[in-house]
């Protein structure tokens, strides 16, 4: 399978997702990218099947007294694209720290 060529910001977002950052605001925080870049990029990545999204279970959110939010997860194709992007942008791995549980 041929991995799609990603822009630098899309690669950065995909890298953040691969490291466990799962929602838009979290990705903005970790990458420093503006919201106008992050959210449309997430839509494009989802359209291209590099990420998929699902809603957080309602009871988990209710227990924490907050609204449920949409979580993004990297797909198999997305993982291949991140590997290709890391080869293309060698500094990518150093830009995004891994998420601590």
């Amino acid at each position: 399978m041929i991995s799609p060529r990603l822009s630098h910001s899309a690669a950065l977002i995909l890298k953040a997702l691969s490291l466990g950052h799962r929602f838009g605001f979290d990705i903005m925080e970790i990458t420093g990218l503006p919201s106008g870049t992050v959210y449309p990029a997430l839509r494009r990545l989802e359209r291209d099947a590099l990420v998929q999204s699902e809603w957080e279970p309602e009871d988990e959110a209710t227990a924490s007294q907050r609204p449920a939010r949409r979580y993004y997860e990297i797909t198999k194709a997305g993982k291949a694209a991140v590997l290709a992007a890391t080869e293309r942008y060698p500094l990518l791995a150093m830009l995004v720290p891994e998420k601590h549980a």
Binding site: M28, I30, G32, P34, G36, Y39, P97
Partner: protein, 295 residues
């Protein structure tokens, strides 16, 4: 994407309400989102905005990204662009490859080519006079070019027409209408483009400029009509959308044993176009196979 579990409940309840600016922005921008995705979009953004307002940055990040995300309207740009992206994406999906988009693009190109000619002519009156002067020449040249172009592709058209038994009557009317509109726009566009190139030379050498314009018009119109013919071939015979997902079938070296070539399908499942790799006695040209036909 998984379906929003509470997609029918709007507005969604939040533990604490959002600030008035966010509520107004959400109310305004939700109008831009396609109706089918509106509820889910609203719920996602309510949650994102709520979390932004109740967020404490982790200690490790509080020095590196301290201010930008703490601004009250940090997500406003993302919210607006997300809504607009959904709207443009729905338009893109609805219009991609359609005959309407093709004609609109040609019309836009024609409008762009009229502008330089208009500027060079100096006024609408002078431009209209120029068009009136060239009207007869344009009509004769157009007829000749279209005749030559149609004669050259007559073999193909005859073959494909025979195989279109299953196409509806409306489609049979729409196709020649689309072809006629496309041809007219291509001829006008190439004429205006050749005018744009040659009109500035007209003041220095009128005869050479006219000759050069004729040659350019002829060349570009033939290329344009050739493209038009290829474009028409690669469209669904039912809905006139561009065919998608080209896939190569068979191997040319096995041509005596099996068919080889490219297959393209209509996104809406109206049928499939088979384009042979090599012309054979049993498969001379492209064939359109309708959905449900017994080929």
């Amino acid at each position: 994407m998984t379906q929003c579990p509470h997609s029918l409940h709007a507005p969604h309840s939040l533990p604490t309400p959002l600030p008035p600016f966010d509520r107004k922005l959400l109310r305004l921008m939700r109008l831009a989102v396609p109706a089918a995705e509106r509820d889910e979009w609203l719920r996602s953004w309510q949650a994102e905005l709520w979390h932004q307002h109740h967020h404490t940055p982790p200690v490790s990040l509080s020095t590196s990204f301290p201010t930008s995300l703490m601004k009250p309207h940090a997500l406003a740009s993302g919210l607006i662009q997300d809504a607009l992206w959904l709207r443009t994406e729905s338009w893109r999906q609805a219009l991609a490859g359609t005959a309407t988009l093709c004609l609109a693009t040609l019309l836009l190109l024609l409008a762009i080519t009229i502008l330089p000619a208009l500027v060079t002519a100096g006024s609408w009156k002078a431009f209209a006079a120029f068009l009136a002067h060239n009207e007869q020449r344009f009509a004769i040249e157009t007829l000749l070019i279209v005749f030559v172009s149609l004669a050259a592709s007559a073999g193909y058209m005859e073959t494909t027409t025979l195989r279109h038994r299953h196409v509806s009557h409306i489609s049979l009317i729409r196709r020649p209408l689309f072809f006629a509109a496309k041809t007219t726009l291509i001829m006008l566009f190439t004429f205006m483009l050749s005018t744009d190139v040659c009109l500035p030379l007209h003041a220095y050498s009128p005869l050479s400029a006219e000759l050069l314009q004729n040659l350019l018009f002829l060349l570009m119109a033939l290329i344009g009509l050739r493209w038009s013919s290829h474009d028409g071939e690669a469209r669904c015979k039912q809905c006139l959308r561009s065919l998608a997902a080209p896939s190569r079938v068979g191997r040319p070296s096995h041509n005596f044993l099996e068919w080889s070539g490219t297959e393209l399908v209509c996104r809406h499942g109206h049928g499939m176009l088979t384009v042979p790799e090599i012309e054979t006695s049993w498969c001379r040209s492209s064939a359109w196979i309708c959905e449900g036909s017994r080929f």
